[in-house]
Amino acid sequence: MFKTITRCASKFVAIAAVSLLAMNVHAADPIRIGSFLSVTGPASFLGDPELKTLQMYVEKINEKGGVLGRQLELVHYDDAGNASKARNFASRLIRSDRVDIIVGGSTTGATMAAVPMVEQARIPFISLAGAVVITTPVKEWVFKTPQSDYMAAVRILNDMKTQGLSKVGLISGTGGFGSSGREQTLKAVKEIGGIEVVGDETYSGSDTDMTAQLTNLRNVKGVDTILNFGFGQGPAIVTRNYDQLGIELPFYQSHGVASDGFLELAGDSAEGLRLPASPLLVPESLPESDPQKPVVEAYKSEYEERWDAKVSTFGAYAYDGLMLAVAAIEKAGTTDKAAVREALESIQGHVGVTGTFNMSADDHNGLKADSFRILEVRDGSWKLIN
């Protein structure tokens, strides 16, 4: 409590000081962007680059004079991957910090826990989590930047079909990402047709050896490819076990591991695997004509320069979220929540790092499955296949 009081007091003093200094130049109130992210905990590899991205671009935008002539102010909390905390922080952002828009929610659980609150408070919310349930069915105030896991499943299965593969051994994490991915894969298999799931295994996020599950999948009759849906270190262990067991089948992973960190963990054993990912991992392979190329290259170099760390596709979700928010506020010409929401819903042809967004009243994601590129690991780095 003491902390809050001192914080309030120091804020008050700061505001007083600023208004004294800027007596004649009436400084407009900043635009408050709220965020709750899984900066620590099991999903920290999502929240960490997301927070870094938000901090960095809020600074950059402010250096260039802000939005609508007003500075941006980022108010952010760490939900540690815990849905209850996420709900509390969403509530705090809306009711206590009175932010104008929320860009956050690293995981589907955190996002969904905040959704009732957001819908009730009628505040625009751009989620950074993947599952299809976030925007299907459409919720008036909820948007999201990553492609859904359903699109990823479709993209993977289609690539398998073009490779002449039809019997999939599926292995997935029991966490939110893997579990939802598994469900969407099973759904996509039904809708696409001509391909089937012949084995279905899972592993928990903290497992240290997946040899048993992989042995089972390998022994399924007729299996001709294996797909792993999961994120965190689990898929890296799966990949290494896959290699140790000497399984020769074509190996697919999900966009959950589309990061250079994964390549470091999995090492040589990742050789040859394919996955759907944002073009962020292969900016140099993009043709000059690709409209995403400059955006992707700029984000990558700016992020890596600022943080001295490899860029990650998850950070890019936050980049797109922030830029969509800014675009919508500029388009609306105000921070009035209904106007910003309207503007968000009508954004067309917004080129982001993840893809080109075309929002509409029945699509609050605005991306198509083909915004995913299929990449393959060759000689320890990503190669663009199509």
Binding site: M1, F2, K3, T4, R7, V39, T40, Y77, D78, N82, A83, S84, K85, R87, N88, F89, S91, R92, I94, R95, S96, T107, T108, G109, M112, A113, V115, P116, M117, Q120, A131, V133, T174, G175, G176, S179, S180, E183, T202
Partner: protein
């Protein structure tokens, strides 16, 4: 007798005054949300305290019962359209049966075997909630409909009239949770100040003494374990309705540890103490949120230091200090 019951009412009275005074200081609906959650979790902690503080047993899986109550209510009301109260009662009965089946054989043994058994039960419950995606929504959780009484809904987003006053749903929920907490404390206090409570306290003081005057210690330990599990289940169900969303994290080991920590931090055996424990442990992350990366280090450090320097817990230590000072000043008068 008169003295004792006066004392009993005093604790309850102070709590009631605090609960109903809080709205005078709250201007922000977010704080009502926090206060509501604290009240509900404190209710579960009061139940857990009966087990830890009075039967001297540790549960490392109480969140499992909390989560089971929450999910049973969530599923039956949201998916199958049950009314909230029958859902809550049936869930509590189910949890009671599970606790009895696990507790009865294990509490015959002397030693901390219950901690291991509850750890296992808690994990198994969390694993089931996580895996049965079709029913529970899996790791991403599921939405829960608002609490209802005979068709009348209580939602944190609603508007209600109470004694002719317009009040917000947040405040209404807070008052409801406050009353629930008072009832929880009243029932717990009745149990403590009864022959059953005496038998339980004697187990803590000297189990042999209790047994040679005819106290069936195993039976009473099982009874109080079941009661504490029912507390968790009921509070879990209400928590689910209030939050409007549940994820398996509320059944997880981390939350079990938080619950037991609230008991020990606040002061084992002191009903008001453990409520203070719940308040402190729920508010601490909110206060530490500004420290970002330092949050975990500070939280661990505060927890460690508090327990090292106040091993009896916050309230008993404070009470001791006060008593000492009073004695000193009384001595000074002579």
């Amino acid at each position: 007798m008169a003295q004792l019951s006066q004392f009993r009412l005093k604790g309850l009275l102070i709590l009631a005054i605090v609960i109903f005074a809080v709205p005078l200081f709250i201007t922000n609906p977010f704080h009502y949300g926090l206060a509501t959650q604290i009240a509900l979790i404190a209710g579960a902690v009061v139940g857990l305290n009966l087990l830890v503080g009075f039967a001297g047993q540790i549960s490392l899986g109480h969140a499992g019962f909390f989560g089971l109550g929450a999910y049973f209510s969530a599923i039956t009301t949201s998916t199958y359209g049950w009314s909230a109260i029958p859902a809550l009662v049936v869930g509590a009965i189910g949890v009671a049966i599970i606790a009895w089946v696990v507790g009865r054989p294990i509490l015959r043994l002397k030693g901390h075997y219950l901690s291991m058994a509850t750890l296992a039960v808690g994990f198994i419950i969390a694993i089931i909630l996580n895996n049965e995606r079709e029913i529970t929504g899996g790791p991403d959780g599921m939405p829960v409909v608002p609490f209802d009484v005979f068709g009348w809904e209580l939602s944190p987003f609603g508007q209600y009239t109470l004694f002719g006053m317009e009040i917000s749903g947040d405040l209404a929920w807070y008052l409801f949770a406050g009353v629930i907490l008072l009832v929880a404390v009243w029932l717990a206090q009745n149990l403590i100040d009864s022959p059953i409570g005496r038998a339980l306290r004697s187990v803590h003081g000297s189990e042999v003494a209790a047994s040679v005057v005819g106290v069936n210690t195993a039976k009473y330990k099982s009874l109080v374990f079941v009661i504490s599990a029912v507390y968790a289940s009921v509070m879990g169900a209400l928590y689910a309705h209030y939050q409007g969303f549940v994820t398996p994290a509320i059944a997880g080991f981390d939350f079990s540890i938080i619950l037991i920590t609230m008991v020990v931090l606040g002061g084992m055996g002191s009903t008001i103490g453990v409520i203070i424990g719940a308040v402190v442990l729920e508010l601490l992350p909110q206060l530490l949120a500004d420290f970002q990366d330092m949050e975990m280090v500070l939280f661990g450090l505060i927890l460690m230091l508090t327990m090292i320097f106040m091993p009896k817990g916050l309230l008993p230590t404070a009470a001791n200090l006060l008593a000492k000072r009073r004695k000193k000043s009384a001595g000074g008068d002579v």
